[in-house]
Assembly symmetry: C2
Homo-oligomer: 461 residues x 2
């Protein structure tokens, strides 16, 4: 086998310019702002209009990648040439784009903070063109990681301290989501990932042992177990390729054969009635004196299945969770919005049916008597604190103005913040009552003033 020439990297997709990961209308609007010399500061607010039925909170996630993007944003030559080929951008505007960088400020809740409907996860303040341009990627990234962290947080809760491993890569939507998912899951409390690229990119612990195909490629299951355990003494053996309990029996035979050389750490069940099989497998292992061999379960799991297994007392020590968590099957997207709330010092709002927005720069105040969150107050950013303020100034003039948060710290942040929520919110089932988010008196006054102004304008014209 002769290696192909050259050091060209493996290609997962055709080439594209990262700065073009945006909607065309951002660029047509940018050219309009450019031509109209509109360059005043705009404030955009990113929030979820409502929460899915089965989400008692959203776990904010994805900020670090957003800041990385904002710090590095620039149009490369290929991007400019492609835009020129579209025939709707002037040379003057394209020259302007070439030098465009993000120079604005960002206020955001730290990753791992639980947030609720209408609460800004992030506010961008920048010359309007810059704040507009970044909308698509900022939403894409925060949406993706928040969707996935929020889902994973439920799985972790259901596992009640047992290990959870991300097995989702093959069905997560694409390579980019694959590595971001592993990151979001880790922040939400997942212990490891099967995704090697995510391990490389983020330093997350990687895990994984064998697939059915390895067993099938051997003439006998026992032989496959023996050969694998020779190379990886403390491995996990997959026992359900043919008959699960026969598979367990073969692990026991291997222990007898190897004696003190037997170091196998766990067996994995991947099909069938996991509760029933785990009980029987546990009994067989215990009877054989293999108490220290643990049981790992996988196969179509989600938070409901995990909850049912842990609640039933099934002797399962860890869970591999794949597609359901990886695509957040019951809520794969959120009703996120990135809305203009102020331009040139004037509060702005949208009145579209069912989609109206709150004007101005905001702050979230979490009211926590005795250390437990009772409700939040959504207020003006400049008003006297009505509780613990959650939004922090994280970027100034296009540069981070806080030290980068280590992944392990974001994970700790999530753990700590979740512990401050009332227990009913941490449950899998919809909380009753749901968590209350009020608006402050000052914000309500602003809302009324701006609404009257725009309604008067509409009638006048």
């Amino acid at each position: 086998m002769k290696p192909r020439a050259g050091g060209a990297p493996t290609r997962l997709s055709p080439r594209f310019s990262p700065a073009l990961v945006t909607d065309l209308y951002q660029l047509t609007m940018l050219q309009a702002y450019f031509e109209e010399r509109m360059s005043a500061t705009a404030v955009f607010s990113l929030f979820a209009r409502r929460l899915p039925e089965r989400r008692n909170y959203l776990l904010a996630c994805g900020l670090d990648e957003v800041l990385m993007y904002l710090e590095t944003l620039r149009f490369d030559q290929a991007a400019l040439e492609y835009l020129e080929s579209l025939g709707q951008f002037s040379k003057r505007f394209l020259r302007h784009l070439e030098t465009l960088r993000f120079t604005g400020d960002v206020y955001a809740v730290p990753e791992g903070t639980p947030v609720f409907a209408n609460e800004p996860l992030l506010e961008v303040e920048a010359p309007i063109a810059e704040a507009q341009l970044v909308e698509t990627f900022v939403m894409n990234e925060i949406h993706l990681q928040t969707v996935l962290a929020s889902k994973a947080s439920r799985v972790v809760h259901a596992a009640r301290g047992r290990q959870v491993v991300d097995f989702g890569l093959r069905r997560i939507h694409g390579a980019d989501a694959g590595i971001k998912a592993a990151r979001a899951f880790y922040i939400a409390g997942v212990d490891a990932t099967s995704n090697v690229a995510a391990g490389q990119a983020y330093g997350i612990r990687v895990a994984g042992t064998m697939a059915h195909s390895y067993i099938q490629a051997h003439d006998e299951e026992f032989e496959a177990f023996r050969d694998f355990a020779r190379l990886y003494p403390d491995t996990v053996l997959l026992v359900d390729t043919y008959d699960t309990l026969e598979g367990v029996q073969k692990v026991i035979e291997l222990a007898r054969t190897l004696g003190s050389q037997f170091k196998v750490k766990a067996i994995r069940l991947d099909s069938g009635d996991l509760r029933d099989l785990s009980v029987k497998a546990r009994r067989m292992l215990d009877d054989a004196g293999l108490q220290r061999v643990t049981i790992f379960a996988s196969g179509g799991l989600n938070e409901d299945a995990v909850e049912k297994l842990t609640a039933s007392g099934a002797p399962i020590d860890g869970f591999g969770v794949g597609a359901d968590m990886g695509v957040s099957r019951d809520a794969p997207s959120l009703d996120f919005a990135y809305k203009l709330v102020e331009y040139a010092g004037q509060a702005r709002m949208k009145l579209s049916a069912g989609k109206s927005t709150l004007p101005g720069r905001k702050q979230i105040f979490r009211v926590e008597p005795d250390g437990v969150a009772d409700h939040d107050v959504l207020g003006r950013r400049d008003e006297a604190p009505l509780g613990r303020p959650l939004l922090q100034h994280v970027m100034a003039g296009g540069r981070r103005c806080q030290p980068r948060v280590a992944l392990a710290d974001a994970r700790e942040q999530a753990k700590r913040e979740l512990e401050h929520l009332p227990p009913r919110l941490r449950q899998i089932e919809p909380a009753n009552p749901r968590y209350a988010v009020e608006t402050s008196a000052a914000l309500n006054r602003d809302l009324e003033t701006v609404r009257q102004h725009f309604e008067a304008e509409t009638v006048k014209r």
Copy 2:
């Protein structure tokens, strides 16, 4: 604004080695195959175990990227160093990985082919290590694009010839899925995308005009319309920022003001009761002599909403479809499997509860009396054709053995193949009866032989 130094590209994620977009267990198994000198040819088959309730067919998609990946797969130095750092791979094995390339064969259905449960979308034949290693990416890519093309195909059907534009980027899961989605949608019949990077990567037509924020940043809606239309005379104006019908009225005023200079092509409705508003807006435009201004609708659309609008005769000429199509909300993942069906010339199968597989190299035969598909027969690859064979030999020895298919041709292929399906399958509602897939007599015989062999083995041991 001073451009930052250097030509470093915009970063959407931390760096990772593309070859590491795989599950760790592929690599632990690879080292085991290496140590055990298992290098015989393996055949893996990729198929969906079942179809979601609301999918009458899957539209196979993603093959071109898979072939691109297989042609370029190699471990770069960063990948090898990361793997070494994990402490479970020998130097000898890592040196072997360095020279590893994909040298196998691929049989696949052309992109745009409708397939059904248990039908292989693709079969990989290669030395077992190579066929094993590529599992994760091959599944990820074919799964992603097939999920999205299958969803989009329904939206296109519901639109009944009206234009459909992909507006999903902000909520599609990540940048990679964003561009692949636009591609899959295009093959399924979607007309354009808002995703500029997808336009650059694939040459798909890009579309988009203005957002609410552009309107809001102007003091008056009319002024925003006028300024935008000055720069883009044949644009689409978004009319629902404050009050939709007032917005339409302002477009009419603009037409009166501009006279023969008025070239605005369409208005866009993005909220409220789209049927009611489109009827009223159409009447207002017609009464003003603006029959040639068309109506474009967006806002929370999916195939059901589009179907309802087109069936009701709403005067809507095009649809912008976002999150629901972009994450395939009702079926964001499929029960895909990539299973070993042959090793070293011997058929293999898995007997796990509810997850058993069909052994050996296969072919799909589509039986089409009078040019309409009646049922499929899943047979042995080497048996005499029982209908039109769908799987083609697309890669030999790690190289494409068929010319690359242009995107427009894949789109044509999808259109043609869908026309050959019975009309009940093209409907949005679940087909009754569902499409029948039989197994050939020869394949049934193989299945029995292999099952008896493995059951006998299980009992014996």
